[in-house]
């Protein structure tokens, strides 16, 4: 069932905790190291499998042989490396190669899909035949022969990953590990996880589209265990870009480590959080995951087309306060949610979803765009060639406002200051969401005071965006993994500092 799992969240080091919920669910966020590909020491540019256009034309022809109005072929080739440094040891290194192709046929509201690990004409034609099953007996559209197309690139690479010696990867990990241990004696254990991949894509469809590209991705996670008197806290910080190895020239591994270590030590002093309704100020950055869940998922057009989404029928209506503008933009240079075009070949661009409180756009893939008669917004994404494309977010954020962050805090008499959020989930039908805070403080008389433990924020998407009454001028972003329908994909979430009046906060004591 494609609609059950929506989460954005924590990346446990391994697949421990699998907390599945009813209604709108939070599964575990496992880094998507699934499905990765052959390097064979080839220089950049050769990771894309070369398949003759004639083969693609014949595959598309075959896919539409029994009927259907659209068909596409997606060929993927992925090479990945993952290293874990934990407890002073490089515990494991993982090198992965994965390749394959998915063939899809759309006929009306129906989709047929099949994939193959082997990218040969025989296997592609076989997949096309399987995928064509759903379209049997419908009117067929004559496919257009594919033609190459040039597209702008939003991802620049200075130091290609293929040219980086393994030792360089280990060096940045060591630097982060040491920096975290040096931060404070209370840091007793450090875990540094390094992941990079190069994903080559070839996309061809019955409209004549033919595109290829190659996307590097870097993901660096530091977790630190702080130990105090009878308290323990695992801090975490992540850094991720679609970039070459120069990411570590622009962003220091030590800084990633220090952010995690600081959180670990600060939260050792945390007290029980009070329960009940309160005003909440959320610091700029990854806190944007709140609108990613609460507003972003319900604005994905698949559930709108099914008429079950919380924002169904609200296009053009005022759904949020005047200070609230929300954007999804997959063309922001080198960001984690950025690609040159989505996994269906639609150009990336800035999409203003809610403009000064008015709902202007849903996020579509090719199928849902057709179903709701809206433009293709570039949100058709898939985890791998084994998955069907569905509408997904890219870099999603609350647009900056004009308030000064310090004024937002000082004008809040009492409440909760949320410095960072682990992640959350939403039921896209009812719009009910939840978030777990990593680091939060009480606000007393306009000041941050004591840290509080693991508070939960819950509410309804429509209420929350009406209750945002202050938006800062300090837009920031954080990297994350978003899960939906069993597929994970890389996203950014962002926001300036914002204040939401009256959210239900889950704490373990009553308010004094």
């Amino acid at each position: 069932m494609s609609m059950k799992g929506y989460f954005t969240g924590d990346i446990p080091r391994r697949k421990f905790l699998e907390l599945s919920l009813k209604g709108g669910a939070a599964l575990v966020a496992v880094p998507s190291l699934m499905s990765l590909v052959s390097c064979k020491g080839t220089p950049s540019g050769e990771a894309v499998l070369t398949i003759e256009k004639d083969v693609l034309n014949r595959t598309i022809q075959k896919a539409l042989e029994r009927g259907g109005e659209f068909a596409d072929v997606y060929i993927e080739h992925r090479i990945s490396r993952e290293v874990l440094l934990e407890e002073n040891k490089f515990k494991s290194g993982v090198f992965g190669i994965s390749q394959g192709a998915g063939v899809r046929v759309i006929s009306g509201d129906k989709t047929g899909f099949a994939y193959t690990d082997e990218v040969t004409e025989e296997k592609l034609l076989n997949a096309a035949q399987v995928a064509s099953y759903v379209a049997a007996g419908t009117k067929a559209v004559q496919p257009v022969n594919v033609e190459s197309e040039k597209r702008p690139s939003y991802i620049t690479v200075e130091v290609p990953l293929e040219q980086v010696a393994d030792q360089k990867r280990l060096d940045v990990m060591n630097r982060a590990h040491q920096a975290a241990l040096d931060y404070d004696k209370k840091i007793k254990m450090v875990s540094v996880s390094y992941y990079d991949e190069v994903r080559g894509r070839t996309i061809a469809n019955s409209e004549g589209l033919y595109l290829t590209d190659e996307l590097p991705l870097m993901f660096f996670i530091v977790q630190t265990l702080g130990v105090g008197n009878n308290t323990r806290h695992m801090g975490r910080e992540r850094l991720s870009k679609h970039m070459g190895f120069e990411m570590f020239d622009k962003y220091k591994p030590e800084d990633v480590a220090l952010t995690a270590a600081r959180e670990s030590v600060a939260m050792l002093e945390a007290e029980d959080c009070p329960a009940g309704m309160m005003d909440v100020v959320i610091e700029n950055g990854w806190g944007g995951v709140l609108v990613h869940e609460a507003v972003g998922h319900p604005l994905e057009a698949d559930n709108i087309a099914r008429e079950i989404g919380a924002f169904t029928g609200k296009l053009g209506q005022k759904v949020a306060s005047d200070v609230f503008t929300m954007v999804d933009d997959g063309s922001l240079p080198n960001m984690r949610g950025t690609t040159n075009f989505d996994d269906e070949g639609t150009q990336m661009k800035r999409n203003v979803l809610i403009n000064k409180g008015v709902l202007e756009k849903y996020m579509t893939d090719i199928l849902s765009a057709k179903q709701i008669e809206m433009e293709r917004t570039g949100n058709g994404r898939r985890e791998t060639f084994r998955d069907i494309p569905i509408p997904r977010m890219t870099n999603t954020f609350i647009e900056k406002g004009s308030d000064k962050p310090e004024d937002i805090l000082s004008s809040t008499k009492q409440g909760l200051y949320v410095q960072s959020i682990s992640g959350g989930s939403v039921n896209p039908t009812t719009g009910v969401f939840n978030f777990t805070c990593r680091e939060a403080y009480l606000i007393e008389n306009g000041k941050k005071t004591v840290p509080v433990k693991g508070a939960t924020l819950i509410g309804n998407c429509l209420d929350i965006i009406s209750n945002i009454d202050a938006v800062g001028d300090d837009l920031g972003f954080g990297p994350g993994i978003c899960g939906k329908g069993g597929q994970s994909c890389e996203v950014s979430a962002g926001q300036p500092t914002v204040r939401i009046r009256s959210i239900n906060v889950g704490g373990s004591r009553s308010r004094s």
Partner: protein, 444 residues
């Protein structure tokens, strides 16, 4: 070459390429997924795939590589990558591969008839469960229904002479519906997963539960922030079990990242609590004849009458801890390096009918939905969103939504005072209904 011979020959190939010891894990699978909405097939996905994972040790250092390209050249290259990578990781005397030769005999992991059932019949099940769930007039929209199945075959061989294999099947159907009333929307979903096609529940039962979960929660109310008893439905048992499971992971324990690290042979909760991890259950969704690195599986009591009896280990972590593997090496497929995980993990059944637990509750929450991460395995802190029904004087009075619950794991486990007799072993991860006294609830 058959996969068994292939696995054995690849083990040798790793040694030829310079590994001191090696492990080969070959997986082949076939998947089918059908989605239906409003009486029509919406998607059909079908495919089969193969892949191989290599784990090598060289001078005590470990590395791993995998590929789904099974051509001879690609396999050689992938092995070379693992052996090369082992030059970069840290030598550790605890890095060893298992040598346990046997396997646990388990009935009913593979249904030979599943692939023989016609596509039409599978589509018909998905259509039927949707139609039945839509029959209630309070249900206004379908989010879709579906049927899916997969067959999986594993071959594992290592340089200690292990060479084992097994085959599994699993099938599933379910439905997701929406009830609407004015501006209100409420959703409900239910599914059934079994190893054998003939063991699937009747569509009526699944449809009825999905519809009820949706319409029962219409017209919810809020309650005041207060402390009250909370009755956990089996559907939400993961909220408690998930954090405990992470906290008994032997590696987390060694790292100090578990709130249960110092609690072995000590009381961690009420005497009513017995937690079992069973890799041997016939037809169990989490059962396997051997774990992700070839160690035979067992049935183990993790918590007995409130006392913590043991942690979970794979081979490497067990050696580090001075123990032996508990058969808990988990593997998410050929792309995954073995970690630590459970098989069928459950809270043993009690003897109180669930209705009696509701009846015995003066004031409280019958918890049917929880959101969030559950118990934090490091700190033992619990916090989450909550929905369900409010109970007054032993009776359900109205649905509640948008609440929070919070506390510490030890307080909650020690306050578990009633245990139901409704354990359903057809889930990989489950508990009967239970009640926890006096939890902090956040409301208005």
């Amino acid at each position: 070459m058959e996969n068994k011979e292939l696995a054995e020959s690849l083990v040798k190939k790793c040694l030829e390429k310079g590994a001191d010891s090696s492990e080969v894990f070959i997986e082949s699978s076939r998947d089918l997924s059908i989605e239906v909405r409003n009486g029509d097939v919406e998607t059909v996905q079908e495919a089969s795939s193969n892949g191989v994972g290599f784990r090598v040790l060289k001078n005590g250092a470990m590395a791993f590589s995998y590929s789904n390209d099974l051509s001879e050249k690609a396999l050689e290259d992938t092995i070379g990558r693992a052996v090369g990578f082992a030059g970069s990781t840290t030598p550790d005397e605890n890095n060893i591969l298992p040598s346990e030769k046997g396997e646990t005999k388990i009935e009913g992991l593979y249904d030979p008839d599943l692939s023989q059932v016609t596509m039409d019949r599978k589509i018909a099940i998905a259509k039927k469960v949707e139609e039945l769930a839509m029959r209630d007039e309070r249900i206004t929209k379908s989010g879709g229904s579906g049927f899916s199945e997969s067959e999986n075959e594993i071959f594992l061989a290592n340089s200690n002479g292990l060479s084992k294999s097994y085959k599994t099947s699993v099938c599933n159907f379910g439905v997701y519906v929406v009830a609407e009333k004015g501006e209100q929307k409420s959703s409900g979903g239910e599914y059934c997963t079994r190893r054998f096609f003939s063991d699937l529940k009747p569509a009526e039962e699944v449809a009825e539960k999905a519809a009820r979960d949706a319409y029962e929660m219409l017209d919810p109310k809020m309650v005041k922030t207060q402390k009250a008893d909370v009755v956990f439905d089996p559907d939400v048992s993961r909220a408690i079990l998930g954090g405990i499971l992470s906290a008994v992971n032997g590696e987390r324990v060694l790292q100090g990242a578990s709130f249960l690290r110092d609690m072995i042979d000590k009381k961690i909760g009420s005497e009513l609590i017995t937690l079992v991890d069973d890799g041997t259950l016939a037809k169990g969704l989490g059962s396997q004849p051997f774990d992700g690195e070839g160690v035979p599986t067992q049935k183990r009591t993790i918590v007995e009458n409130g006392v913590l009896k043991g942690f979970m280990y794979n081979t490497i972590v067990a050696k580090r801890a001075g123990k032996t593997s508990t058969g808990n090496a988990s593997r998410g497929g050929y792309r995954s390096i073995p970690g630590i995980g459970p098989h069928n993990f459950f809270m043993a059944n009690g003897d109180t009918p669930p209705q009696e637990i509701i009846k015995a509750t003066k004031k409280g929450l019958w918890l049917k939905g929880v959101t969030g991460y559950g118990i934090n395995p490091v700190s033992g802190h619990f916090s989450g969103g909550a929905s369900g029904f409010w109970i007054e004087n032993g009776k359900v009075v109205f649905p509640v939504k948008g609440l929070t619950i919070a506390g510490t794991a030890f307080d909650m486990l020690n306050s578990l005072d009633m245990l139901g007799n409704d354990l359903d072993m057809n889930r990989g991860f489950t508990a009967p209904t239970f009640r926890i006294k006096n939890i902090q609830i956040g409301g208005v």
